[in-house]
Symmetry: C2
Subunit: 231 residues, 2 copies
Amino acid sequence: MGRKPAGKTLKHALLERLMHYYYYVTEKKAKNDGDAVSSQEIGSFLTMDDTLVRKDLAAIGVRGYPRVGFKAEEVKDAIRNVLGFDHTYKAVIVGAGRMGGALASYTDFSNYGLRVVAAFDLDPNKHGIFIGSTSVQSMENLEPVIEQHNVRLAILTVPAEPAQAIAERLVKAGVQAIWNFAPVTLTLPGDVVVRHEHISVGLAELAYHLKTAQEERLDPDEADASPADTA
Amino acid sequence: MGRKPAGKTLKHALLERLMHYYYYVTEKKAKNDGDAVSSQEIGSFLTMDDTLVRKDLAAIGVRGYPRVGFKAEEVKDAIRNVLGFDHTYKAVIVGAGRMGGALASYTDFSNYGLRVVAAFDLDPNKHGIFIGSTSVQSMENLEPVIEQHNVRLAILTVPAEPAQAIAERLVKAGVQAIWNFAPVTLTLPGDVVVRHEHISVGLAELAYHLKTAQEERLDPDEADASPADTA
DNA sequence: TAGATTGTTAATCGATTAACAATC
DNA sequence: TAGATTGTTAATCGATTAACAATC
């Protein structure tokens, strides 16, 4: 499973919160709404404790100013820095379906350093068409392109069935991180970073909350009952 | 902010784990790979403790069989049941861009009870085109359609700028849950369920891990140093 | 039966929050 | 200065894991 890094690695939840701070500060700057933010301001916007905001910012080395707050610019820079937005990450997209196309065209990603250098699809009918600004190639070229461009990141937007096999091929060719949109859980060596973007999880969660809200409306006093059917 | 439900509501992390279990059992059944699963088997596949798996399943009312494990079918049914996959959730999509199109065409969602009844876009040029199996309508029809179909769920795939205003319009028209793909954090009344699908968070996280891995390779002994620049 | 696996209580761990002193 | 806000230590809370008895 590869050795664990020495406890330095920032945790998922923290990274996610940092992104929320980043959005907030960026929007604030766009609105020209002063150049200082207080931890309380961020906290109440995101409905979280202001102490946690201060801790998080301290963890990435941002210092605040008593009586003033944090400089928006400094917060932004520190997050960019820690998350590596100023590096450029070359990536390939495998799977030129609608999701692949949507991601390839998402220009916003370039703000975060992503540069899609090639796209591939199993289906020969797709070869030559453009998604984003790259044309789709045959899977035969996968390994040569990855090696030539020294690509370390792959975006996987194929159907469930071929996903595992393609992921293994990507890793063998040198890819170190996979952003997986296929609805399967990939099994890969421990030193490969995998992010499962199981989009249905979001849907399931919303559906669950809708259902729960409705049931509470129907019988408000059952709110404490076991979630399983009583039958 | 609306009253808090009485502690019954399942937590985000648990729901996410349930989905992973669901994928696993579903794939296992597809492979015709026996009809019992042990907590250990699931745990080692997902690299998590088997006790947690048992706790989670207990929490949704599934009982295992000593010496056997859990019946795959029962696990699947319980999860479907708790997450409400057998309900049908009518939804509208607002924003017929690429992401909207990709989601509208994602037939997999029907497994989870989603039924897209209409799609809207601000751009008149898009009106009449099809995404998935629904044609795109003018935003003028938003409120009437929501009311007529009694829609409670909206998928928001518009750009950042109009997102907040449209979300408010949706809520006013009766929508109770919003699945937000716009890269902004929406501010809405506390009884509206919002799921922010900030796709860039995934990218940021991968980029961060890639960067960290690379730095460790460059100077393996600095692995404990402060994440902030030393300069 | 013996042995594997569940179910559950108790112990541990980590993350969040509360309290408050330090700072400008 | 007085007062607002940070920075940090200590207390709390909740989630995960360890241990082990119950079960078939």
